[in-house]
Symmetry: none
Subunit: 210 residues, 2 copies
DNA sequence: CCATATCGGTGGTCAGACCACTTTGCTATT
DNA sequence: AATAGCAAAGTGGTCTGACCACCGATATGG
C-alpha cells in the first residue's frame, strides 16, 4: 500500500485518514456517493480487503451507508442497527453512563437556551402539542420535544452531538424528565423568563424506566 | 457463512454478534485472548476476510487490541476512543466555524461550572500561575487554563469532546479570551460567586489572532 | 547451563475469483 | 414509434489461497 502513514500504522487506518481527506477535498455531504471499493483500491494503492476493513468500521459507526449493487454513501447518522451491539460493549462502565447522561443533559439545557430567542408563539403551541400527543410515552415525548427544539437552535454541530448521545443512551436506559418539568419549561419559555431555564434544568434529574 | 443472522444481515455483523456471545460464554475479561482469526474462521464457517472486517471494526472502536504475531486480546476498554472517531468525522464534515466556536464556548462554560465545586484554594493558585506563565501567549494560556479545569471536572466524555473541538478549531483560528476575562473568572471562582459564571461567559466573545 | 537458530502460530496484506444486486441501455416485439 | 424484456456493466458481499512480518517456544550447539 502507498497510503502515507506513520510507522507501524495499519493500512486500514491510513485509508480512514485518506477517506476523510477525500470527503473534505470534494466537500461531500450526507447522501453523496463515495468512490467504489475497487476505485479506492486503485487510487490509494491498497488491496480491496484493506479498503473494506476501513469501510466496514465506518459503517459500524454509522458514518456511511452501503447499498448493494449501488455503492457507498455518506450517511446522515440515522439510528443504525449496530448501535445496539456497540452500546452493549461500550456502556458497561457505570462511570461512562454517568458521563454520558450528564453531558446529554447539559446539551439539552444549552440548546434550549439557544432556541429560546427564536421561538415564536406558534412554535410554543406546537411544542405543547408534542407534549400532549406523547403524554402516554415519556421516552418518545422527550425525544420529540428536544428534536423540535433542536430544529430551532441553528447549530448543526450541537444537533449531531445530541442525536448521537440520544442514540447511545437510549439503548440502555429510557431517560426522560417528569411531567412537571416540561410544563415548567413551557411556562418559562412562554413568559420570557430566560434566566430561570438554567435553574430548572439543574434542579431536575432524569427519570428512568425499566 | 453459517453464522445465524437475520435476513440480509451482513456476515461481519453476525460475526460481531457471535464474538460477543463467545466473550460472554467464556466470561472473558480485559486482557484475555480471543481465538485467532483462522480459528474463528473455521468455527464460525466464515471467510477470514469477514472475520477481519468484524475485528477491525472492533479494534477501531477500541474494544480489542491486536498484537502482531501474538494474537487478539480484549482491550482494557477506553470507551472514549469511539467518541474520538465519531467526532473526528462529525466535526470535519459539516460544522461551520460558527457552530464549532459556539459549541466549544458552551463546553468551556459548563466544565467550569462543573469543576467549580471541586476547586480548592491550592487549585486556584495553580490556575493563577498558569495565567501568569502564559501571559505572553494567549492561545497557549487558553489551552492550559481549561486543560487544568478539565482535569477537575470528572467527566471524561466532556473532556474528550473539548480536546477534539480545541484541536479542530485551532487548525482554523487561534481563539482565546482577553486578559480581563480570565481575571474576572478567577475572581468569581475565588469569591464563590457561582451564579455569575454563566453571565461572564455569555457576555464574552473570543478574540482571534492570525 | 546458556546463547542462538529454527519453526509453528498469528496478524497484515494482497490478488483474484465468484456471487447477488442495481442500473442502464439496447434489442426485439408489438 | 413505443414499450416490454433482456443483456451487460458496475458495485458491494464473500471466500480462498498465498505471502510477509512478527512473536514465542523449542530444539540445538557451544
Amino acid at each position: 500500500m502507498a497510503v502515507s502513514m506513520s510507522p507501524k500504522q495499519k493500512v486500514y487506518q491510513g485509508i480512514l485518514q485518506e477517506i476523510r481527506e477525500l470527503i473534505d477535498r470534494h466537500n461531500l455531504k450526507p447522501g453523496d456517493k463515495i468512490p467504489s471499493e475497487r476505485e479506492l483500491s486503485g487510487k490509494l494503492q491498497a488491496g480491496r480487503s484493506s479498503i473494506r476493513e476501513a469501510l466496514r468500521a465506518m459503517e459500524l459507526l454509522g458514518l456511511i451507508e452501503t447499498r448493494h449493487g449501488e455503492g457507498t454513501f455518506l450517511s446522515n447518522y440515522q439510528p443504525y442497527q449496530t448501535v445496539e451491539i456497540l452500546a452493549s460493549f461500550i456502556l458497561q462502565e457505570n462511570s461512562t453512563k454517568r458521563d454520558l447522561v450528564l453531558a446529554k443533559q447539559i446539551i439539552e439545557k444549552e440548546i434550549t437556551k439557544l432556541a429560546y430567542q427564536q421561538l415564536t408563539p406558534t412554535n410554543f403551541k406546537e411544542l405543547q402539542s408534542i407534549l400532549e400527543e406523547n403524554k402516554h410515552n415519556p421516552k418518545e415525548r422527550h425525544v420529540a420535544y428536544f428534536r423540535y427544539i433542536l430544529n430551532h437552535t441553528d447549530n448543526l454541530l450541537l444537533a449531531k452531538i445530541w442525536y448521537l448521545m440520544e442514540d447511545f443512551s437510549s439503548t440502555v436506559n429510557n431517560l426522560y424528565y417528569d411531567d412537571y418539568f416540561y410544563q415548567a419549561l413551557q411556562t418559562l419559555l412562554y413568559e420570557n423568563r430566560y434566566g430561570q431555564i438554567e435553574r430548572l434544568f439543574m434542579n431536575t434529574s432524569y427519570k428512568e424506566t425499566e
